[in-house]
Amino acid sequence: MRTAPATATAMVRPPGLPRLLAGVRSDFAATLDEHLATYGPPPAAGTIDLTALADASGLRGLGGAGFPTGRKLAAVAGQPRRPVVIANGAEGEPVSGKDKVLLRYLPHLVLDGATAAAHALGAREAIVAVSRSDSDGLETVNAAIHERHGFDKRVRLRAVAVPDGFVAGEETALIQFLNRGVAKPTFTPPLPFERGVGRAPTLVQNVETLAQLALIARFGPDWFRAVGTWEEPGSALVTISGAVGEPGVYEVAFGTPLRDLVTQAGGVTEHVRAFLVGGFFGTWLGENEAREARLLETDLRARGARLGARAIVVLPPSACGICESAHALRYLADSSAGQCGPCVHGLEAIAASFERLAAPNARDERQRLSRWITQVRGRGACRHPDGTAAFAASALQVFASEAEQHLHGRCPGSRSVLPAVAAR
């Protein structure tokens, strides 16, 4: 991870960026004292209206779905039973590292956010979900919880290790894991806000959303809106990898042009062929589109892409988009929870077809592939088939010329920039 080094002096109401990452020290977690010295103390329970502040700030969920945080808080608060809060740090996206960075370096910011949300909802328990393989994150969060003993007596905090895997961090999968030990999505309704952990209404928020909420609780919505655009205010964490000089996690304002983000990440190391925006759950953007694109959901949607959890991979021409996509689609198909027929069979068919396209002596089955891509959408209990279909559709569109080359027995690139991941 690379960020500007934090200043030694207490930094209340940070005026510019980084502000979420302002408390990151060299390479170990901020202690509670250091955390309080950087951001100041959190407001006492009952002294703020967090839902109203979240609404006024325009904060949206930063885990990928982008649901307005104030509305989610209000939906949970409107239920008759005492709710539970889950801080979702189970980051299954292979090319995203932002949640791990927060857990590893700024656990108290996440815990402040979870505590503030619990206060607002009258919840007495907040659970931090961390991926099993993220042992550093788990250790850091446990140490931070221990350190906070007596800091807030109303809310009991605990960390839970959840299975790795692409689908395990999906809200309903997280809840089913906490309830029954099975990390697989469930059929909805009921949605988590209606019935979640122990049948209680449950607020599931990404750890970055909660960290932002911790700062909004302190500094208010106007401060939050000082960067970003009116519709998409604030800053967010971006994970950038691939053909850039300094891959890592960066905090940038919404609205930042992708090319500025690349500059911040050390510039490109080669020409750019395409951008993968939103990680494996996202879509490819060709070089021309990407050059003009900004880090805004509205801008990317207009280009047929989604911002997702802001994981971005820069693909150089020395890598082949068809081969890279075939690897990613294999991972996505193997990551199916195996519950829904259309996901099990459809994703397998799409992945296998892409693998044949990427292999030598490919034959043209793009028509069949397009049909499967259209067919699987909306037919799973969760959105895993939809995300996979969107990824495959964008690969066929952006890498149409590479696909043609494969059909003529040529592969245009040999380098690989996507991580070699296997589904667990």
Binding site: T186, T188, P189, Q339, C340, P342, H345, R379, A381
Partner: protein, 69 residues
Amino acid sequence: MKRVRVNPITCEGHGLCAELLPERIQLDEWGFPIVDPEPVTGEAARHAARAVEACPTLALLLENAQGGR
């Protein structure tokens, strides 16, 4: 107004629904239903009710057209 919806977790692809409600349900090449979310009325509504009854895994649901996810 009602429409049909499949619980994809409980559905095992028996395919009876596509025979009983061809107006709204087709099967994919693995035998799993592709459902048209258009509300069912008149005769289609009767067919839908029968298909819901016949599903061996109780995976086919009739729900209010306004509700849902």
